[in-house]
């Protein structure tokens, strides 16, 4: 690895903590970002000569803060003198101050920085864009590519989002226990959204999408390091790791979706699976199940199966039943129906999803599963109608292409009724 790559990795990993501390110091997002930027420029000059400092985060906070204060001083020549405490020379106390700026508060600082990005007034895509810009430090250009919009449009979106969060005025006092746990929940949801944005493959550059998934995992691990004993955060990190582990097998050479049961499981990332399984195990020891833990546990059952036919569908059905109970939603029921179709057959599954037709009338996966179940029951004409509806609702070309495969199969089968393959989610 080159020296620049080392420094780059160090700056990337220091960013959330350093920007968070500078934000608390300056109480202004733009100033905190500029200060960090300036500190990075100085690091690129100084570190290759002097070697990296032992405490890179502390160094960046200190240098960034001083650089921004210099800026204030320079500006002050034309204005009234700033108050003494702002310009007083702090060089003697620097190590001490860096420590104070950093360690005692860093958990709430980083949490606040993340929380600012997921302000409820911001639409999901803007929350993600803001987090990628402020916390992860991705360039506007990279973010624009991920969302398939022009750089100028993304710049505008981020600027507007920043103005909105500045107006929202998130308090800088140390949060109470309830508020802290609410913030953790909101941040976890934002990280999950970020991951899904990368995972759902709704078009765009594959590399950029993988970056989003990697970034989400990095943030989830960071959140978990701040809240080591929080089983839902273990669950979140595990869920992302276990899902992302399948990425190398999810698309074929032409970019088409490969179903879970058709994936070449040798391509799954064993390191990510092992880490995900460990985290699920750790989380469940707390006996406080939550949605992320349960979804991670379901992903873990799939990861345990060396072949699709080894999948413990009974266990998946049980886990979905708990999840349904904890967080009732038609989408969860729909997913559970896949497990039910494996355990009790397509008729039982179909009976389970029919009542959802009203709520999920605009949902691609509802019609995809309905068509697959009808096809298994030999009700080909109805299956075809459902598949047509699914194609009409497909979000991506891959989704549509995937359903067309089923339709082709139906047409082929109507000519020769033998050899029908099971289809599910």
């Amino acid at each position: 690895m080159t020296e620049i790559a080392w420094i780059d990795a160090a700056l990337t990993s220091a960013r959330p903590q350093a920007v968070a501390a500078l934000l608390r110091y300056f109480r202004d997002l733009d100033r905190a970002e500029e200060a960090f930027q300036e500190a990075c420029l100085r690091a690129l000059k100084s570190w290759p000569q002097n070697g990296p400092p032992r405490d890179a985060v502390g160094w960046l906070i200190m240098v960034g803060r001083n650089a921004a204060l210099d800026e204030v001083r320079r500006g002050a020549k034309n204005e009234a003198l700033p108050p003494d405490d702002v310009i007083s020379d702090l060089s003697d106390a620097e190590t001490d101050l860096a420590e104070r700026l950093d360690s005692s508060h860093y958990r709430d600082d980083v949490l606040r920085l993340l929380f600012i990005c997921c302000h409820p007034d911001l639409p999901a895509t803007q929350q993600i864009a803001l987090a990628l810009r402020i916390v992860s430090g991705l360039s506007v250009k990279e973010i624009a590519r991920a969302f398939l919009v022009s750089e100028a449009a993304m710049e505008q979106r981020i600027t507007r989002a920043k103005r909105q969060v500045a107006a929202a005025d998130v308090p800088f006092e140390t949060p109470g226990a309830v508020e802290r746990s609410e913030r953790v929940g909101a941040v976890a949801a934002m990280i999950y959204l970020l991951f899904n944005e990368g995972y759902s493959a709704s078009g765009g550059d594959v590399h950029v999408r993988v970056t989003l998934c990697d970034e989400a995992i990095r943030l989830a691990r960071m959140l978990l390091r701040l809240f080591q004993g929080e089983p839902e955060i273990m669950g979140l990190a595990a869920l992302l790791l276990l899902q992302h582990a399948r990425s190398p097998a999810r698309l074929d050479a032409d970019g088409n979706i490969v179903l879970l049961e058709d994936q070449d499981r040798r391509l799954w990332d064993r390191d990510k699976i092992a880490e995900g399984l460990t985290l699920v195990e750790k989380a469940f020891r707390h006996r406080r199940p939550g949605p992320y833990q349960l979804q991670a546990a379901i992903a873990a059952v799939h990861a345990h199966a060396a072949r699709p036919e080894d999948t413990d569908w009974e266990e998946i059905n049980n886990l979905y039943a708990v999840l349904e109970n904890l967080q009732p939603s038609p989408v969860v029921t729909l997913n559970r129906a896949v497990a039910v179709s494996k355990v009790r057959g397509p008729a039982a599954a179909l009976a389970m999803i029919e009542p959802l037709s009203g709520k999920l009338s605009g949902y691609f996966h509802f019609f995809g599963l309905r068509g697959a179940l009808l096809m298994q029951l030999g009700r080909d004409a109805e299956a075809r109608v459902a598949f047509d509806q699914a194609i009409a609702l497909a979000n991506t070309a891959q989704e549509a292409a995937h359903i067309r495969l089923h339709l082709d199969r139906l047409i082929k089968d109507s000519q020769s009724p033998a050899g029908r393959k099971q289809a599910a989610q």
Partner: protein
């Protein structure tokens, strides 16, 4: 004499490496370990999962099971090499080679007891 070469680094930095960068570090180190292995000087080698995967058990009358690593530190124990060296100089040289162009730290700890087969030799 057996020495453990313990690898310490900021795991947030290591996690920020791209796969290519990670592979490059492993490839660079493999040059050193291959040489050691060929000379019959290399024992077990391990890379540890992130500290978020760790669980700590504090012994006592009522042992305490805690999530996370034993201590919150700026740099974390991320893995280790076990090497058979003539003396400390050789162990230091080995650590130096392993860490060439890197910026973490290696702690060299001579072994007091070693059961490669899981029982006294």
């Amino acid at each position: 004499m057996y020495y453990a070469i313990l690898c310490y680094h900021d795991e947030a930095v290591v996690n920020a490496w791209s796969k290519e960068e990670d592979d490059a570090v492993l490839a660079k180190r493999a040059v050193v370990t291959n040489k050691l292995a060929a000379a019959g000087k290399l024992g077990p080698v391990a890379r540890l999962m992130p500290t978020t995967a760790a669980t700590t058990v504090r012994s006592g009358r009522e042992p305490l099971v805690l999530d996370g690593p034993f201590a919150e530190t700026k740099e974390q124990l991320l893995g280790f090499y076990l090497v058979d060296c003539q003396n400390l100089d050789e162990a230091v040289e080995t650590a130096r080679q392993l860490g060439r162009d890197e910026c973490g730290a290696f702690e060299i700890r001579p072994l007091r007891l070693f059961w490669p087969e899981g029982k006294p030799a």
